[in-house]
């Protein structure tokens, strides 16, 4: 029976991911090179933002992955709690540092872009603030994984933290919105107006095409990194188990 749960077997997971990993990794490299080169060298300047518009090809995909990584960790945590598949818990652990790096990239590129455009590196704007809070959640999550010695205990604790954290992250998002209306422009990439052809507000086609390639590249990069890091976590777990058995005699 072909079922997705087959891949919950660590051996099967390593075998399969070994086979697909090169494809995904090279796909990520190709998409990122094409998207970034296209965006960097072959798109015009924006009439208001000048050449800083080119930062969008990193900023937007990184911000997207920062949120999606947490969503993936939430799903993996739920799967671990319900079905007790170790691969799922380890995948959540593997994704956290990648998500944290994406958050830092989104914050850093945003700050560098904000300096000439808004005249400040940092503003306590809802989106910026939410990302800072998201980064703190990533740090806490990873720190808890590192602090608990027993693997299953750590998986349970972090899974529950991930669920509770998700609720509070959403609450914070709305609280921060309430607290300050903000400077950041709305999400304009996927806005309905983009399809209707409202050229004032949306990201115009010249910028959108390479941006979508970059987004695909970031998604593939994330998947490749998570697969690789999950393999590493599976091996680390197996090694701890072997060493423990050896010590028992």
């Amino acid at each position: 029976m072909a079922s997705i749960w087959r891949y919950a077997n660590p051996k099967k997971f390593i075998e399969t991911s070994d086979r697909v990993l090169p494809v995904i990794a090279w796909g990520a490299v190709a998409a990122l090179v094409v998207g970034l080169v296209w965006g960097f060298f072959f798109t015009p300047e924006d009439y208001r933002q000048g050449s800083t518009v080119k930062i969008i090809y990193i900023h937007v995909p990184a911000a997207m992955m920062a949120i999606n990584a947490w969503a993936m960790m939430l799903v993996a945590s739920l799967i671990w709690l319900v079905r007790r598949h170790h691969v799922s818990a380890l995948a959540a652990r593997a994704a956290a540092p990648v998500g944290a790096v994406m958050t830092v990239i989104a914050l850093a590129t945003g700050a560098i872009w904000g300096q000439p455009m808004w005249g400040t590196w940092w503003a306590w704007d809802p989106r910026l603030t939410s990302f800072l809070i998201l980064f703190l959640f990533y740090l806490g999550y990873s720190a808890l994984w590192a602090a608990v010695e027993d693997d299953d205990t750590a998986a349970d604790l972090t899974a529950i933290l991930c669920i509770v954290g998700s609720v509070f992250a959403l609450l914070s998002r709305y609280a921060v919105n309430f607290w300050n209306q903000g400077l950041h422009q709305g999400a304009s990439v996927m806005r309905a107006g983009a399809i209707a052809g409202d050229t004032q507000e949306r990201v115009s086609n010249v910028f959108a095409a390479p941006l979508f390639v970059c987004m695909a590249g970031f998604v593939l990069l994330f998947v490749a990194l998570v697969l690789l890091r999950t393999q590493t976590e599976i091996r680390a777990r197996r090694m701890r188990a072997l060493l423990a058995r050896e010590r028992m005699g």
């Binding site: 800083t52 930062i55 990239i105 872009w113 990194l225 590493t232 091996r235 072997l242």
Partner: protein
């Protein structure tokens, strides 16, 4: 070929630089840990198999 980035050259280049360094960092770290863990696990498995 180099595009003319105008007065924002420093801004754009530093944004790309920071991002590429961070992405390169996490990729290198992941690869390095993967390789090291693979080797360590193989060593331990060998040792266990051959009964110390």
């Amino acid at each position: 070929m180099m595009v003319d980035l105008g007065k924002y050259a420093g801004t754009v280049l530093s944004a790309y630089g920071v991002s590429l360094v961070l992405i390169g960092g996490i990729v290198a770290l992941s690869l390095w840990r993967a390789r090291r863990m693979k080797a360590q696990l193989r060593a331990v498995e060998e040792r266990v198999k051959h009964g110390l």
